[in-house]
């Protein structure tokens, strides 16, 4: 059980270096991985962190600061951390500017909850179901997917209504009985 409020407070206090474009992301990630007992990045595994996805790289840095929390370090596994930094954060980078994970309370909660879920840990005082439920309320990617689905549904409904109004639909086809 980890205190969520401690994690969000930690995010609010993220040092400016962790948002700076000057900071070497592979070096920070490598340090973090070694701190939690894993091997650091080698030339190959460092490659993704040399990408040109600047917003993602900044979120990775903020997240490394978050994961450097003492209790998290004690429980994190390198494989899960890497999965979090890449698979979980990449889609988020398309939707949220990195500084918001420091300045905006909802985004801080989102990042902290995503980290806990990725590390298979629960926030203090919450069951697994409660944690999933509360994450859903701040989950940007999920909200985006829901909005996208709603948009696709709206577009389809409009296409159906248009097809129903078209002259070729109204001419119809012959019917052979009366019902």
């Amino acid at each position: 059980m980890i205190s969520l409020s401690r994690l969000t407070r930690r995010l609010a206090e993220t040092p400016a270096d962790f948002l700076s474009p000057e900071t070497s992301v592979p070096a920070v990630v490598s340090d973090l991985l070694m701190t939690i007992g894993g091997p650091g990045l080698d030339e190959r595994s460092a490659m993704p962190f040399e990408s040109s996805e600047r917003n993602w790289l900044r979120i990775v840095l903020v997240s490394c600061w978050l994961l450097a929390d003492e209790e998290l370090i004690a429980r994190a596994e390198p494989k899960r951390v890497l999965h979090y930094l890449t698979e979980v954060l990449l889609p988020l980078a398309d939707l949220v500017d990195a500084p918001l994970f420091v300045s905006d309370p909802d985004r801080r909660e989102e990042l902290a909850r995503l980290a806990l879920r990725s590390l298979d840990l629960l926030p203090e005082g919450e069951s697994r179901a409660q944690a999933a439920d509360r994450l859903a309320t701040v989950d940007t990617v999920r909200r985006y997917e829901v909005l996208q689905a709603a948009k696709a549904a709206e577009e389809r409904a409009a296409a159906v209504r248009k097809a129903m109004e078209e002259q070729r639909a109204k001419e119809a086809a012959a019917r052979y009985s009366q019902v």
Binding site: M164, E171, A172, R175, Y176, S177, Q178, V179
Partner: protein, 456 residues
């Protein structure tokens, strides 16, 4: 054609939108000759619409194999067992139909909520599956005999499903279509102030002719053209409804068809016998709904359910299944209309389910026509009233004629136009009779009796 008839859809040729090549993708030279003959016939009615079968080789192939499926006569369900395809249909509907998509999928059909006609058709666009090919979509406007007129989406192939089903039903009476491009196989007969009239050919019957006609004299150059036209066409089968077929029987026709099919409203035994004597052939009552196609046909004292991929439940008012033999609402589950798959669709019609070498409907209580008396004593059938009130967008209404001839019309208040508009429409049909129009809440009555008369 009357200019003052308030049904804008019937402006001649206003609803056409295709070329002949699109109407009949499989048109043969023989079929073209038949089509020209029907269109240019010296006694032809005033065609006001054009309509083909729109069947491709692939859909024709599926319809032909459907005929074999029907011949097997296998329903796949009993009083205690649902058909095997139901689970798959529930899955498909809950994953692709917008109306259902956000709901969790019930484990069993009995847990699927039933849906009524108004509920379904007032938002038909929400029932067209996401993966349905919209280029196949056609719209059929219902007459509104069982509620407000509505637009039903379907595909041309689904519309043509009637043909193998009709073949299957007629085979039971020893009647077989000859078909072919030198034969008119079907004439679909209406008798109302205005209706679509068109000439067509059917690739399913190898280019045989099909004509839809309206017996009302206004639709013809001379009233006697009706007899000259029909006797010359010598159709194999007439289809119609009890009112139009009765009007057909009044004409001095010489041609004797192989069979007469009646639908759309209840065919009484008296009318059936009269028609059978007049045309000296089997007269078969069909029961179906536009949304799902033909459901059953009359076989002696019951309606035998067609062995389609169609499941019928009989439900009581609370939505519970009735025991065999107990009457309730006919409720249909059917995925054959690709534009409108139905899960537990309440038809508004009533019957009991029983087993006589397969499922049958007993005591089918369809839509009985009522005859009103207009000004100057002319008879007006309830379907004509339906026809004139439906375009006004009324949700429901009840028309009663008192013993003194006075009319009282109660209209469901939601969405109703002002009473003067309604009165004008009804007076255009009934003439100047005492008439009282009131707006009320008719939703209290689950199945309001639409037409009643003290005169009949």
């Amino acid at each position: 054609m009357r200019d003052d008839y308030p049904v804008p859809d019937y402006v001649p040729m206003a609803a056409t939108g295709l070329t002949d090549a699109e109407r009949w993708p499989l048109l043969t030279d023989g079929g073209r000759v038949m089509l020209d003959r029907l269109r240019n016939h010296p006694h032809a009615p005033h065609y006001n619409h054009a309509c083909g079968d729109r069947l491709t080789a692939a859909s024709l192939g599926r319809l032909k194999s459907y005929k074999d499926t029907l011949q097997d006569g296998y329903h796949g369900w009993t009083s205690t067992q649902e058909p095997p395809w139901v689970d798959e249909l529930i899955e498909r509907v809950y994953s692709t139909v917008p109306r259902y998509r956000r709901r969790s999928r019930p484990a069993r059909l009995t847990e699927v909520p039933t849906i009524g006609r108004h509920d379904l058709l007032s938002q038909a666009d929400q029932h067209v599956p996401d993966d349905a090919d919209l280029s196949d979509l056609i719209i059929y406007n219902t007459s509104g005999s069982r509620g407000a007129a509505a637009r039903v989406p379907m595909s041309a192939e689904f519309s043509a499903l009637d043909l193998p089903v009709i073949e299957h039903v007629l085979a039971g009476f020893g009647v077989v279509f000859s078909g072919g491009p030198s034969q008119v196989s079907l004439v679909n007969v209406y008798s109302q102030p205005v209706a679509y009239q068109f000439a067509s050919v059917m690739s399913y019957l190898d280019g045989a002719g099909l004509v839809k006609i309206n017996l009302h004299p206004d639709g013809w150059t001379r009233p006697e053209d009706r007899v000259s036209f029909l006797d010359d066409l010598a159709p194999e089968v007439y289809t119609g409804n009890p009112i139009s077929l009765s009007a057909l029987a009044e004409l001095p026709l010489k041609h004797q068809p192989k069979a007469v099919l009646s639908g759309a409203m209840t065919l009484s035994d008296t009318v059936r016998r009269r028609l059978a004597e007049r045309f000296r052939c089997p007269v078969v009552d069909l029961y179906g709904i536009t949304e799902s196609g033909l459901i059953a046909w009359r076989d002696h004292d019951v309606h035998r359910i067609v062995p389609r991929r169609l499941y019928v439940e009989i439900l009581d008012e609370a939505g519970r299944r009735c025991e065999p033999g107990v009457a309730g609402e006919i409720t249909v589950t059917c995925g054959e209309n690709p534009m409108l798959p139905l899960l537990r669709y309440r038809t508004g019609d009533h019957a009991a389910l029983d087993w006589r070498y397969g499922p049958v409907l007993v005591g089918l209580d369809g839509r009985a026509p009522v005859v009103f008396r207009g000004a100057d004593g002319v008879t007006v059938n309830s379907i004509e009233v339906t026809h004139i009130l439906s375009p006004l967008g009324l949700v429901a209404w009840q028309l009663h004629q008192g013993s003194d001839g006075a009319l009282s019309l109660s209209v469901h208040e939601t969405g109703a136009p002002d009473p003067d508009t309604i009165a004008t429409a009804l007076t255009s049909l009934m003439g100047n009779l005492p008439l009282k129009v009131t707006l009320e809440n008719l939703a209290r009555d689950a199945k309001p009796q639409r037409y009643t008369s003290d005169l009949t």
